[in-house]
């Protein structure tokens, strides 16, 4: 009997290794990507049809409900601020000196001409709270072994009905994402790279986000400075801070 168990254990182990729990993977991904608080400085390189623009920004976030972004350059965007509180999004424009709530179909508009919409920006919930997951296979991405997870929405108010993500088996960060509409049509594709260690977390510092319905090179989001779990003045997450 002992001999039988000894022979069986490696096979059982192989079986477990081949079918990891998708929710454990998502949990680990969320642990890497989400933090209690985050201050991120970065730049957004928008590859347009006629030219390329670089927009720098600083963003503060607390959990998944609060975030505040200030655009620093170029001059056209400098001073524009966005505040997200739960499901609400406000934008402040220094040119008009107005704070305006973005809602309805405006949420589907592009953020600063990038391939990302306001709706994409608003979606910060934990993956396992929004999607039902299955591991569908394994693949090597940029020389790293990945699990392929297929996610199907379990809630109504989600921007993408279906997602496919390639998760690094060692570092538990997504290296590639495909976002689909309810009809099954591929809408957007994201490629994560330059994964760096920040404390106990791995975090991709470059993301190329591409709307596949547009014929472009997409938009690069590059993290230039990242501070995780730091104290942020609660005033930042108020509408008054927009006009500051």
């Amino acid at each position: 009997m002992k001999l039988f168990i000894l022979i069986l254990v490696p096979f059982l182990w192989t079986g477990i290794a081949q079918s990891p729990d998708p929710y454990v993977i998502l949990d680990r991904v969320d642990q890497n990507m989400l933090s209690t608080t985050k201050i991120l400085e970065g730049k957004m390189i928008v590859y347009g049809k006629r030219n390329t623009r670089t927009i720098t920004f600083r963003s503060y976030s607390e959990g998944i409900d609060k975030s505040f972004t200030e655009y620093l350059s170029p001059a056209r965007e400098a001073g524009t601020k966005m505040l997200k509180l739960k499901d609400n999004l406000w934008i402040y424009s220094p040119a008009a000196d107005r704070t305006i709530q973005i809602s309805g179909h405006m949420l589907k508009q592009s953020v600063m001409g990038s391939d990302m919409s306001y709706e994409d920006m608003m979606e910060d919930r934990k993956l396992k709270d929004v999607y039902d997951a299955t591991v569908t296979g394994e693949e090597t991405v940029d020389g790293r072994d990945c699990w392929i997870l297929e996610l199907n929405a379990i809630v109504e108010d989600v921007a993408y009905e279906k997602m496919k993500i390639w998760v690094d088996q060692q570092r538990y960060v997504p290296l590639r994402e495909e976002l689909y509409a309810k009809s099954g049509q591929l809408l957007k594709r994201a490629v994560f790279s330059d994964v760096q260690r920040f404390g106990s977390r791995w975090y991709p510092t470059k993301i190329n986000y591409r709307d596949v319905l547009k014929n472009g090179k997409g938009t690069d989001f590059i993290v230039t400075r990242l501070q995780l779990d730091v104290t942020i003045d609660p005033y930042i997450f108020t509408k008054a801070a927009l006009r500051r």
Binding site: V46, G48, K49, R50, N51, R53, R76, E77, T80, I91, S93, A95, A96, R98, T99, I100, Q101, S103, G104, H105, M106, Q109, S110, V111, M112, G113, S114
Partner: protein, 424 residues
């Protein structure tokens, strides 16, 4: 001879009344419907040309492919050079740059918070340079419902229905939110100088009209325009002339693979507009043809019945030595007079009907809800001198053709059997 025929027609009502009535109704329908359809096409073409397409227009190749999305990032740039070229190469046209763009209009309350928001389609035209071509072309003085046409930078004029929905009045402040040509977020405060009413839902519900310079600054589109509209200096759209201009222009850029190469289109190239113009023109021609055929058949039958009724009369005339050809000619003369009388009355009625509809019009706004095309809400008929002949000639022709067909029976009468047939 003519007097004799007239007397015959006047004394024998059954010979003249029915054919005259048939001709009159047929000609009336032809003239009335043609006037109505002509008026509709002209209104439709003119309104679309003035508000949207021009008689010809120049855009980039990429813009032409995605026009419904109003992609300002695919607009024409460096248009001063292009405008000069167009003015030199095509002096028969007046050229006007315009910018069409989408966005949102936000109305603030007293504390500056959003009170109301609504989607808006911006149309930027030259309003402030002192050249009044575009103001006249857009009939702004007539369309003005409230307030005044923008007189200074920072003023906009909006559709009456949009103003009603957003509860806006002249003097109110609004904020436009949209994207620049590069995709940056753009906010700009404007003052509503007035409201306009075109009677076209697609315009009145969403339009925001502003000066070209303001739009260029708002959208970071220096020396740019989404399109350059060309209007024939004769003021009327000629399809063949527009197609020739288009082909000459496009030939010059035929070799270029650049997506920002300018491309010219004629009014008819606008897919929906072209389809409707072809459809309505074909329908108009088909209707006239059907009316002639139907009238001919009806009059042929009327002629046959008349022939039967006048069987004895023809027999006696032939027996008295009148030639078959002569009887046939007399019948045709009668038909000609009947046709002329019916056609004159029919044309008169048709013209009166056309003039009435030209003045009064038919309100079709209820049928056009949610439509994507610019259609006039009130369709008016249009009188043109050719309406005097368009029904007249087919009316006379139908009567003569009908009689020619039925009169053939005269030649089948055998003179030898006449006395027996007449029971003399």
């Amino acid at each position: 001879m003519i007097k004799f025929i007239f007397k015959g027609l006047l004394r024998d009502k059954s010979r003249s009344l029915l054919p005259i009535l048939v001709i009159m109704i047929g000609v009336f329908l032809t003239v009335g419907m043609t006037g109505y359809i002509r008026g509709f096409i002209e209104d439709f073409v003119d309104q679309n040309a003035r508000l949207q397409t021009g008689h010809v227009n120049v855009v980039t190749k990429a813009y032409a492919q995605n026009e419904s999305l109003m992609p300002i990032d695919l607009a024409l740039l460096g248009i001063d050079t292009l405008m000069k070229k167009l003015e030199t190469d095509f002096p028969g046209y007046t050229w006007s740059p315009r910018i069409n763009f989408g966005g949102m209009l936000d109305v603030p309350d007293e504390s500056g918070e959003s009170k109301k928001q609504g989607p808006v389609v911006g149309m930027a035209v030259d309003l402030l340079s002192g050249n009044t071509d575009e103001i006249n072309r857009l009939n702004l003085h007539t369309a003005l419902a409230e307030g005044h046409i923008p007189e200074a930078s920072g003023e906009v004029i909006i559709g009456e229905e949009l103003a009603r929905k957003l509860d806006l009045h002249p003097g109110d402040k609004v904020t436009f939110i949209g994207s620049t040509m590069e995709g940056s977020l753009t906010f700009r405060n404007f003052t509503v100088s007035g409201t306009i009413r075109y009677g076209v839902r697609q315009m009145d519900n969403v339009i925001m009209l502003l000066d070209l310079k303001d739009a260029r600054s708002l959208l970071d589109m220096e020396n740019g325009a989404t399109q350059i509209l060309g209007y024939s200096k004769q003021g009327v759209y000629f399809d063949e002339e527009a197609a020739r201009t288009r082909d000459t222009f496009n030939k010059k850029y035929a070799g270029s693979g650049d997506q920002f190469t300018p491309v010219m289109r004629s009014l008819r190239d606008e897919p929906t507009l072209g389809y409707y113009m072809t459809y309505i023109n074909s329908f108009s021609g088909l209707m006239i043809f059907i009316l002639i055929v139907i009238m001919s058949i009806v009059l042929w039958n009327a002629g046959l019945l008349g022939g039967l009724r006048r069987y004895n009369e023809f027999g006696i005339r032939l027996a008295m030595g009148e030639e078959k050809k002569h009887v046939y000619k007399m019948l045709l003369c009668e038909a000609l007079f009947t046709g002329i009388i019916g056609s004159v009355f029919g044309t008169l009625l048709g013209v009166v009907f056309t003039l009435f509809l030209q003045y009064k019009g038919i309100d079709i706004s209820g049928m056009m809800q949610g439509g994507a095309m610019i259609m006039p809400n009130i369709i008016r008929a249009k009188f043109s001198p050719d309406l005097l002949s368009i029904g007249f000639i087919p009316g006379v022709a139908a009567m003569v053709i009908g009689t020619m067909l039925s009169g053939i029976a005269i030649f089948k009468r055998e003179t030898a059997k006449l006395l027996k047939e007449l029971e003399i």
